[in-house]
Amino acid sequence: MNDTKLYEFVFGPESVGETDEERAASSSRLFVRSQLQIAEDNPKATGHRLTAYEVWKTFGLDVLKRIADEGSCPIIQMADEPSRTLKGRRNDLNLSTRRVALTAGISEELVERSETPGEVLQFQQLERIGQVLALDERSLGFVRGAQGDRNLGVRLREMAQASDVKRFSESEVTGLAEAAWVIARQLELSETNGESKGTSSQFVRSRDYSYPAYKRGYDLALTTRKKLSIADDAPIGSLKSLIEDTLGTPVIQLALGENFAGATVANNTSRGIVVNEKGANANVWVRRMTLAHEVGHLLWDPDERLDKLRVDSYDELDVPPQVMRTDVVEIRANAFAIAFLAPPSGVRKIMDNAGSNFDGMAEVMTKYGISATAAKHHIWNTARIDVSNISIASLPTTSDDWVARENLTVDFFKPQETPISRRGRFAYLSAKAYRAGKITADTASAYLKCTKAEFEQNVDFIFAALEGSNSG
């Protein structure tokens, strides 16, 4: 059989292209997947529908060939899968079956059954568990370990067992694990949709934390602004847009404990930022500082310093880098954040030209979008002007314009069942891949944690609501 005949046999005569990927992307064939196998689609099957592109991407051409040949293809490579992977991963994360069940929205009995060799569940139930555990749910049973990042698992467990204020609860572990899953999948959806990869991969991580570390942070902020072609002393109008569109980095909103501000997460090679929707981040200027701090970790910290996960508390972010005494990684990131948002030379110019310290401080805040607390410290550190006697209550507050530019998600998202962590760019990219025929409604609805009907009813809304802010 020559290549053309083979392609037509596997992908159908309507498929076009010279490569496997082109053929898969243009194939109109649909498949259905259970825990055990993939088959040609048929209306009675209760499994998860997949496009040819999805099957090709996860399982490869050989599986598609076998389906064309035999009508179906078993995908379980080892008799004790996927139960062994699921149980091992849950233990790595030190999570109870109850917690996994609660987060996945299924019964505890189903979680226990999923960990029993030979038990067969609906694949849709398995994929919910896989998402909670930050696994690649699509490869469950096919690849032992399902591409789970072992080191991230260990790190999350360590943080759940920590004895300090950064100790995670079970719900925070599952929240961050799920965020790690969204980060990995969002980057893949970006690629699937042919979006620009962003510039974050062009940054060579820096191991220079030499004394004084805050100066290293200032230097890196300046370098970053230059690399991103941000004009000298110019404000960053939308940090959210810069991170997601220019850097190509996922920003995931999550409800964490009140003391956590944000985190930088590495899931295998995918890095992303998590921002707590609770606490002081409700103020857009505080949230900008949190995001800028995480950008400092994301772009510049080498793997051994990031250690898969850096979680930052509001308290830490409030400490001026010059005063911070302990962790050089945090000192550098704090300095990076403030200098990235408000370049010291720009702050000095404003203060030099201002009619009064009050006017200068107000202009620093409103021009650069930083909070009064951050501005006070920064003005002292960069211009040596003491503004500590200025009453915060009399200073400007965030404008609607700032709020609109930094909105991470739409206020009234549909489907309502979709968790906040998946409502932003992730939802847009899911809808876009669905419209392009790259993923099925089954996949998109699993991604958005809603029913297929809810997704299909709201796909236009998702597009209309998010396209403007995500098409860059």
Binding site: M1, L36, A45, T46, S72, M78, E81, Q122
Partner: protein, 185 residues
């Protein structure tokens, strides 16, 4: 080639009455080698009456999980008009044929490309016990009822039979690896 024994013939005749012959779809055939009838010399056998007495209940032991290492022992079966032949997937013919994918025979090698009532895979655990699937892209069962019915015909031939059953997720017969088989009563 010896004909099927009486119990086997009777059990499968009953099955055949509810399961019409399925012609081989030409779309499934990728090479003419897939339709060459293999012989006894290639490893072809026909199902004979087994030692299990009619009405004897299945063993009380729990069904085993099939080890992935056992896939080398898989044989293919089909229900033809008069008998139920089976042969190892990797029989001598498969090793020598140039047109067979991965050097495995196809179910159509058990029929010479003709029609059959049903087809699947079989794995012998001992002389009187085997596990079956209905996995055959060419002649496999089209419903859970047909899968159950053909499983009972195997049991009626005088064997303890474990069936992998039916996978509602794909509406296909369940494969050997990853699921627990069930005793056929």
């Amino acid at each position: 080639m010896p004909e099927a024994d009486a119990r086997t013939r009777a059990a499968f005749d009953e099955f055949r009455r509810g399961a019409p012959l399925k012609p081989l779809s030409p779309e499934r055939v990728r090479h003419s080698d897939e339709c060459i009838q293999i012989t006894q010399g290639d490893g072809l056998e026909v199902l004979r009456d087994g030692p299990v007495v009619a009405g004897e209940p299945p063993p009380s032991i729990a069904p085993p999980l099939i080890d992935d290492a056992r896939t080398e022992d898989i044989r293919l079966w089909v229900v033809r008009e008069r008998d139920v032949p089976f042969a190892p997937e990797r029989c001598g013919f498969a090793r020598n044929a140039t047109g067979l994918v991965q050097n495995k025979i196809k179910h159509s090698n058990l029929t010479g490309g003709a029609s059959a009532h049903c087809g699947g895979e079989i794995l012998f655990l001992d002389e009187q016990t085997f596990v079956i699937t209905g996995r055959s892209g060419r002649y496999g069962p089209k419903s859970s009822e047909e899968m159950e019915s053909v499983s009972k015909a195997f049991r009626g031939s005088g064997y303890h039979v474990l069936s992998m059953g039916w996978d509602p997720g794909t509406e296909q017969p369940t494969p050997f690896i990853g699921a627990l088989p069930k005793w056929v009563c």
